[in-house]
């Protein structure tokens, strides 16, 4: 009855109003596209400008011409950087650190998330909240005490931890482990209990339940967490800036900022090329795995 009247009520003036609603929608759509284009210009301008500058020679950068256009494009900057030993060292350090941090993080957080989401033990609920709280503690708060603790370890054991690239492998997990555990707890909790109970009855051990049931089922979550861990360890700037100084121990972000900027002489062509190459790995991963990237991004604040 109500639906009938609603339909009638909608249809009767519909014949007259239909055109105006459609026109209104078309206008909304046009304005949406217009503003979207403006925002895309704002959002993409810096990377595009990076790319434009990276194709220029120093002479063209210094000339009084349109900075938004390349008159004599050249790959000179790319060739120079990619044949330069220090730059390749930065790249290698960054790659090794990121891959190791991602592996360590994923092992720790998948095991812990499985235990916290499913197995439960005395204090596990408190620990889950604790994981979340530690995720909120930023690196900017931790780097000073960690610096002192590392100096103290050197005094006691003689192991020099400062100014070695590999020390970052111990530092980055402070940022990646809490977050990855947190989102993995969310993903694991959403797996139906019947699945692991069935496996348990079939005589599977906990490790088997994890590797044969949970990891395959929660694979999208694992990919999202892996991407997050990689992006964070590739992009971190504070820890390497505080803990490493020698040129051969630097990772990419710090290497580009500290070695390419020499005093007041800015070789902008090379700096922009370096920055673009430094941004390339996360961008490439994002281009191929955008949906996982976005899933991880939204899971961090909403799951749990």
């Amino acid at each position: 009855m109500t639906t009938a009247t609603a339909q009638v009520g909608r249809r009767a003036p519909g014949a007259v109003q239909y055109g105006s609603i459609a026109r209104g929608q078309r206008r909304t759509l046009r304005w949406s596209y217009f503003f979207l284009i403006l925002f895309v210009i704002f959002f993409l301008m810096p990377p595009i400008y990076m790319f434009i500058t990276s194709l220029k020679t120093s002479a063209e950068i210094g000339a009084v011409t349109n900075p938004w256009w390349v008159y004599h494009p050249t790959l000179e900057n790319y060739v120079n950087l990619l044949t330069q030993k220090t730059f390749l060292t930065f790249f290698r350090n960054s790659a090794i650190v990121s891959v190791l941090v991602v592996s360590v993080t994923m092992v720790i957080s998948v095991l812990a998330a499985f235990s916290l989401a499913r197995m439960k033990f005395w204090g596990s609920a408190t620990l889950a909240t604790g994981v979340f709280l530690t995720y909120l503690i930023p690196d900017t708060l931790l780097f000073i005490p960690l610096f002192k603790i590392f100096a103290w370890i050197h005094d006691v054991t003689g192991i020099e931890l400062i100014n070695h690239w590999w020390v970052l492998i111990f530092l980055y997990p402070t940022l990646t482990v809490p977050f990855c555990t947190w989102i993995m707890i969310g993903y694991f909790s959403s797996i139906p209990k019947e699945l692991d109970e069935a496996a348990l009855i079939d005589g599977a051990s906990y490790l088997q339940i994890l590797t044969r049931v949970f990891i395959p089922v929660a694979l999208p979550g694992i990919i999202a967490a892996t991407i997050f861990a990689f992006t964070v360890s590739w992009a971190n700037f504070l820890y390497p800036l505080a803990f490493t100084t020698s040129e051969d121990q630097l990772v990419l972000p710090v290497g580009i900022v500290t070695t390419l900027i020499k005093g007041d002489v800015y070789n902008w062509g090379q700096i922009m090329t370096g920055a673009l190459l430094g941004a390339a790995p996360p961008l490439i991963i994002y281009a191929f795995l955008m949906d996982y990237y976005i899933a991880g991004l939204t899971a961090g604040a909403t799951k749990g």
Partner: protein
């Protein structure tokens, strides 16, 4: 004999013992699985965080306690109050702008046909994907005192030149602008996800009641998205308050310490100035805001957990 007694005792008790044993074994295994996490968090996060509090009470060479000496020293310095002011101004302004831009852009993306949304969303998220240290270099170059590409455009259309990073006010605006540029895509993604979960029937009902687009946003979308709006803003407030990369690269605190935030000033005092306790004292001022935000977020999550 002993054998018989033992068997007598064990037989009736077996099911209970083994059940308890199984449960115990289960929680042992569970604890073992969580042990690496506990170690990482305890040794690399909780202990340093507590140690920072202890450090803040020591003198420069860390040989004796000065208790609140570092804090009273900070309170007497003008730079400290400037840093407090700038940190709050920076974080609050940036989060407001990020939230507003994210909200608008999310609606714009939501307005267009579903099949084009992926492409636009993909392009709009790029600032978030580029490592901030790298994109800030691009902004540094865009703000260059003599070759600023913005100023070139302004010169073409007859606008005055802007001393982007040379003047304290413009430098403050500059670091906020870069932070907004980096952070708004995150808000956009979160708000877009929230928008998708608003039931279409509500919009239809509002349309039948004669609501215009602004009323639909204000009376339908905003209340439905309230949770996500709050939680995203809180997360972002924490991250922005603790920001380091952008200010460090763009202005390094200058001109005349006007753009320092807690993180960069702590770095300057602690690592460059070689006064770790003083640096630790400065960075501790991030704790209150973190604590408040953490409590609010936890409450929000619990509340949502109960509703579900």
């Amino acid at each position: 004999m002993a054998d018989v007694v033992a068997r007598d005792v064990r037989v009736p008790a077996r099911p209970r013992v083994s059940a308890r044993w199984l449960a115990q074994r289960k929680s042992m295994v569970a604890f073992g699985f969580a042990l690496p996490l506990i170690l990482v968090i305890a040794l690399l996060v909780v202990y340093p965080a507590l140690y920072a509090i202890n450090m803040a009470t020591l003198n420069k060479s860390m040989q004796y306690h000065v208790w609140f000496g570092n804090f009273t020293f900070l309170f007497k310095r003008n730079t400290f109050w400037m840093v407090v002011e700038q940190s709050v101004l920076f974080a609050v302004t940036a989060v407001i702008f990020k939230a507003v831009i994210g909200f608008i852009v999310a609606h714009l993306v939501h307005n267009i046909p579903l099949k084009g949304q992926r492409k636009w969303r993909g392009m709009l998220l790029i600032p978030w994907v580029i490592p901030p240290a790298m994109s800030t270099l691009a902004w540094l170059w865009l703000f260059d005192p003599s070759y600023s590409a913005f100023n070139w455009v302004f010169a073409q259309i007859g606008l005055p030149q802007i001393p982007w990073l040379g003047n304290p006010y413009w430098a403050r605006a500059g670091v906020i602008l870069v932070n907004v540029w980096v952070g708004s895509p995150f808000f956009m993604i979160m708000y877009l996800a929230a928008l998708k979960s608003v039931p279409e029937q509500l919009h239809e009902a509002a349309a039948i009641d004669g609501a215009n687009w602004l009323q639909k946003i204000w009376y339908v979308n905003l209340p439905m998205m309230r949770n996500i709006i709050q939680i995203t803003a809180l997360f972002s407030l924490i991250v922005t308050f603790a920001n380091f990369d952008i200010v460090k690269i763009l202005t390094n605190g200058g001109p005349v310490d006007q753009t320092h935030v807690f993180a960069t000033w702590a770095f300057t005092l602690g690592i460059w100035g070689n006064d770790l306790p003083l640096g630790a004292s400065v960075s501790l001022f991030m704790f209150p805001i973190l604590g408040i935000a953490a409590i609010l977020i936890l409450r929000n999550i619990r509340k949502r957990g109960n509703e579900a």
